[in-house]
Symmetry: none
Subunit: 229 residues, 4 copies
């Protein structure tokens, strides 16, 4: 989805355009517009994450993306539009991963949980994606559209997944209670905690996320785990 070329028609957020641009057949021009767009988004994630939406300077985004400042406006209407695109773009891949987990409903719940935690550690906490999550937490309150999108795209699905999983686990006796089935947020909460802890205290008091999640699993299961570390 190349440039925008609209003179701020009314302020966006509404234009809930195509679900995904879906990689247009490349025609090898100067520099693939899509690549440029990606470069900008990547730069934007770094800059927005480091400084927050307001303090982020588009100058920095442009410099980091290796484009001119004006170029940003060929791809995004506003700073705000860039920010929202950034979130939207980065959120999708996570969903795909979710899809994989959901696609294996016959996986024993404990293994599924384990897989989910691992996925989170590797694909979120271990990557720039944790910045994204942090950004949503920090800026979401000022960007209802983003919060709404995130809720719809990620939270609802994630909760659904977790609930199914927890219900299965509770039914099979793998979880000692159905508390997590009733409030699947409980499964995710420590992950959130890990992200926030990382953002605030990683320098002064780093958290052993592996240990945290192992302990979390024990609590969910309701009894000490033997075998696994």
């Amino acid at each position: 989805m190349p440039p925008a070329r609209k003179r701020k028609p009314a302020a966006g957020l509404k234009s809930r355009a195509a679900p995904k641009p879906a990689a247009r057949p490349p025609r090898a021009r100067k520099i693939e517009p899509e690549a440029r767009r990606q470069a900008i988004l990547k730069a934007a994630l770094a800059v927005f994450a480091e400084r927050g939406f307001e303090a982020a300077r588009l100058d920095d985004v442009a410099a980091r993306a290796g484009v001119a400042k004006g170029t940003l406006y060929l791809y995004f209407e506003h700073k705000e539009a860039l920010f929202e695109a950034l979130i939207r773009t980065a959120v999708s891949p996570v969903m795909e991963q979710f899809g994989k987990l959901a696609a294996a409903p016959n996986l024993p719940p404990l293994q599924a949980i384990e897989a989910f935690f691992a996925l989170f550690q590797n694909e979120v906490l271990g990557t720039e994606r944790k910045l994204l999550l942090r950004l949503i937490i920090a800026e979401g309150p000022r960007f209802p559209a983003i919060a709404e999108m995130y809720h719809r795209e990620v939270v609802v699905r994630g909760i659904g997944l977790m609930r199914a999983l927890a219900e299965r686990a509770a039914r099979q006796g793998a979880f000692a209670t159905n508390g997590a089935a009733r409030y699947p947020q409980l499964i995710v909460a420590p992950l959130l905690m890990a992200v926030i802890w990382d953002g605030l205290f990683s320098k002064i008091d780093p958290l052993d996320v592996g240990g945290l999640l192992r302990a979390h699993r024990e609590v969910l299961i309701g009894k000490p785990q033997k075998g696994v570390s």
Copy 2:
């Protein structure tokens, strides 16, 4: 007639004044400096929480506090100093509450947990203090001094309290595992989740925090709770 700061009383510039006209008492004096300071801090909490540190305008803080812009600088050196004072000030009272819980070490752990959750619901989630927590989460990464202070004053103590509690509970068999004793963050994580959820989704999908915490308790205990609510 030489230069000297002309007050240019002619010319437009009609008072870019207050979004809330709020009939400003012309020259409110003798309002107990401390009260004024509190008013500023209160206003600052509201404004900073609503917009974030960078986007917050001191004009708004002043207007909201019912003082002139310059007055802020009689009480705080900077925007940043105001922000930090805000956090510091608001953090202490929470500590006192913590103190009360800690002062009752012979309280049965389950009751202590329950009390703690209730305290959090009433004194944090139910008040403006949740804004504070949200601010720390959102802005902490850019304010190491604040993160550090919060860690020292709140997190370390809180974790200590929770750990003692969880250990007692584990020893007495009240908790099915010692997971929470090893990672007391697990006890607090759902509270964090509640605050963040509230900030992001309260409008579109409010969370039943009471239910969440009841379920959380069940999970911690490792078996369904009868009786209680």
Copy 3:
């Protein structure tokens, strides 16, 4: 619709603009960056000279240079940087003139003195450069870097020139004493006096600089001058 810098195009605030309306060419572009830089420096000289460093308003400089306020910052980091550039820039051309005098060391000293005085009258007192000198005198004490630069670039060289000249004159008997050779400042002092007098009293009691300098020459020579003027 979230926050984001609202351009508030409604509401008053009618352009606190230019003291000199001067039909501003809307978006003057491609005006040779160097020319623009010069325009800014020229405007800055006028404004700084009229009001002094502190009282000078960059708004005025911008208006006078026919650029937007922000444009100044594309060319100069600070108000102070602009000020220093201003001094530096304006100082060099004077040096070139000095060079010419120095390049004619065989010129009879009296003629050299005469040429020097004429140069000063035409190139300093008769132009905006006298403002520069006045600025250095007035602001130099607060700008050590500028004083140092001026000393190094102008004073040391100027003194050197004058000393060589005065020594020659003394040796040849053209000057009755070697006082000026020992303190070449004596040759220059009346020029300084002229600049200061001009700045303070030109309106109420203008000084005949030509007469002053003729008399000065007589004194230096040690006997009445016949012939010349």
Copy 4:
């Protein structure tokens, strides 16, 4: 001349009030108002001299004078009024000294010159009064009233004195030419030079004022001075 108690009637400078308050019979109250006034003026001289009129902060003046900021306004209408009073006040004593010189018209001109230079060295260059002179030079252009006053009170009289002296010297053959008689500024110019040099270069290249003035005398006289140093 105690307080002012007028609400900025029209901006002053006109109120060319009493020539001198003339020490009112002290009634030993709290703190002699006149003493307070003097303290303020003294503080003001220091602060204005160090920073210039615009940059000088009345807070600093007040602090230095040991009074509250508001108190300044009991004694002076404006910052500007304070500045002008400062100049006026400090100028008078110099005039008295002048008087003494003028009162000895039978003193041999060379001795009178010498006395004058000594007076300047001791009473101006050697004291805070040089700051005053510097202030007048630097700020005078923006304060026509001050320039005018200074011209009237100091310059005209000084020039008159110098002229009389130079004429006598020329007539008696003590001066080789009547150049200085025609432009008595020539006598004073090196003094000015000394003040300015001191302000700009005292740190990096101090000037031997004694030597300068001796050389100056030689030049004026038109032949080397034996005897004196």
